[in-house]
Amino acid sequence: MGRSSYYHPDTMALHSGYVPESDYGSRAVPIYQTTSYVFDSVDDASSLFNVEQGGHIYSRISNPTVAVLEQRLAALEGGSGAICTASGMSALFTTFITLCSAGDHIVSSGQIYGSTATLLRHTLKRLGIETTFVSINDQGALEGAIRANTKMVFCESIGNPGLEVANLPQINSIASQYGLPVVVDATFAPPGLCNTIESGANVVVHSATKWIGGHGAAVGGVVIDGGNFDWEASGRFPELTEPYEPFHGIKFWEEFGPNALAMKIRAESMRDIGACMSPNNAFLLLQGIETLNMRMKQHIANTKDMVQWLQSQEQVTWVNHPDLPSNPSNVIARELFPNGAGSMLCFGVVGGRAGGGAFIDSLKLASNLANVGDSRTLVLHPGSTTHSRLTHDAMVAAGISEDLIRVSVGIEGIKDIQADFANGLRAAQHVAESQS
């Protein structure tokens, strides 16, 4: 079970990671817009480089503003540590490359974000890391895909865009039998909606760009070490249990235990890959976190209303949301997301692909763009954008049909969203009528 703070999550969202500084008493987290930090002395510099003390050396490795965001996100997820990165994709790449080497293997859910699927299917394969895609809630398929060289089970807590909720307790139960960590991209389930670590994740990744930031103003990602995986008992991770030559032969597990992975990412990936978050972006994301819980309540309320409303519209052919009994993962969704399984929904309209296009082009309030989790309502046609690189079979496996419209429900007045969508549905109706 993960826990990093004894304050209420609403309090953590406002305070964790920062107390006003003694020098100036700045109440807001200051933006440390600096590349580097003056050492007290040669000995001080030496001890920082040798991890004899904590502190900042160079902003590619760590930065005080970014560290506040890291500590706040670790607190909200109940993790032992967090590393922020330039984007959600760099958080994923950093996680994969820290735990896997050439010759290793990943078992992944087939229902994941298109760019993540491409990273696994093509980019990591080019580096000698293979991935087997499975239907993640199919116990037999998951267990059958695990090999001697498998390093992790990867899934999204709510799959993008098919909205299948991963059965994290069941996945953890299978993965732990084989000494495998469960790595979860929880972007669609920001902290507060689901206790991802308690439910079975060992590592949690977020694109902080989405609900965490919430305002569409900054790109960023985070890897959160759950601190609940025994890397030594697993026997599969010499990267963490054996001497690491570039750091005087340090053994991360022996030295740091529950935060071994976070420390390894800091020491290796941030140094070598350098996909660091800018302090200004960290500041913007911190502003978003302060109101995350309040925004999520409105996101969820609007989503519930929109799901009901769409179901009552004759131009809508189907609606998908994990809270609906028709969603195959509805039972586990209700268990893991007692207050509502997020603010993403999908639906189809009359007129198929052309009808979907007409719907989107007719919207005035909702924005047609490749992002989710903004406070504003966003729509997208994945088949021609985020998932366009996938083959037909891969699209089907990812739960995508040609008419699928993905909606990230915002926090505007619900009547205004519905009025905008009503215009779009009328446009789809015209297309359908012209086809008949």
């Binding site: 304050y7 305070h15 904590g54 030295e255």
Partner: protein, 271 residues
């Protein structure tokens, strides 16, 4: 490194460098339910600056095998056996909380084994509420939660960390919740020999105490410092978990004291 002590494998951290017994040794002892990682940000400096470092996990804790010691006296005996197994005759002994009680027992058994004695966030007796021990027996994680709420000072409770990006409460929770916390707490509750043991200490000593310590209140530590005529350092803004929440300040205090003792030893041996 691993070594056998009394027939069981013990894990001892050496600060990231191979232990050299011809160097002055510093022995770091962890507190209840914790392990060598309490000292992660002190041990490396000593190992890389002319000392041999030993930070063992007590038996049955984290990476050490064997049954946990059931009395403080047993843990003192285990330390003597451990030093014998390492071939170490004397060391600067640093004990956090319960680790200091074990150090006192080592001092009683082997007065000459202590070049110096340093207590960190501790006292000569650590009474424990029976309800906490009972809770630890039923649910170590729940007891760890209670101890971490009392153990860390305000800054750590607010999620501030000396190591960027890390969350000491979650780290401590994972370690304490999986170690024999109830046995450790019972050891502390049953131990009343500390004051007598303090009276027998002849080695130079220091006490590093926390102003916000709710587990071993500072007045108890100050009394021991007075009794020992110890060098006293009070870190007023921190709680009981000093080595973790104020690692740099603890390191500065430790190195100033240990270097001064080494200097005195060097001066007296050359005169």
């Amino acid at each position: 490194m691993k070594l056998m002590v009394n027939g069981y494998e013990a894990h001892v951290a050496t600060g990231g460098k191979k232990f050299e017994k011809n160097l002055p040794t510093v022995l770091f002892l962890h507190g209840s339910g914790l392990d060598h990682r309490s000292w992660a940000l002190q041990t490396r400096w000593f190992a890389y600056n002319g000392f041999g470092v030993l930070a063992p996990d007590f038996p049955g804790h984290s990476l050490s095998k064997g049954a946990p010691c059931v009395t403080i006296e047993d843990s003192g005996k285990w330390l003597a056996d451990f030093l014998d197994a390492m071939g170490v005759r004397e060391a600067h002994v640093v004990g956090h909380s319960q680790g200091f009680l074990s150090a006192l027992e080592l001092s009683k058994l082997r007065p000459t084994a202590l070049k110096s004695l340093i207590g960190v966030g501790t006292a000569a007796a650590i009474p424990v509420n029976p309800m906490l021990i009972e809770t630890a027996g039923r649910s170590p994680m729940k007891a760890a939660d209670l101890m971490l709420q009392w153990g860390f000072g305000h800054q750590t409770q607010m999620g501030v960390s000396a190591t960027p990006g890390m969350q000491p409460i979650a780290i401590g929770r994972q370690i304490m919740g999986n170690n024999p916390l109830a046995i450790d707490l019972q050891c502390c509750a049953d131990y009343w020999g500390g004051v007598d043991a303090v009276g027998l200490v002849t080695a130079p000593s220091a006490m590093i105490l926390a102003g916000q310590d709710k587990m071993t209140p500072i007045k108890a530590g100050l009394a021991i410092a007075d009794h020992l005529q110890a060098k006293l350092v009070v870190l007023k803004d921190y709680g009981h978990m000093l080595p973790i929440e104020a690692p740099k300040q603890v390191l500065v205090a430790l190195r100033e004291f240990i270097l001064s003792v080494e200097k005195q030893i060097g001066a007296s041996s050359s005169s």
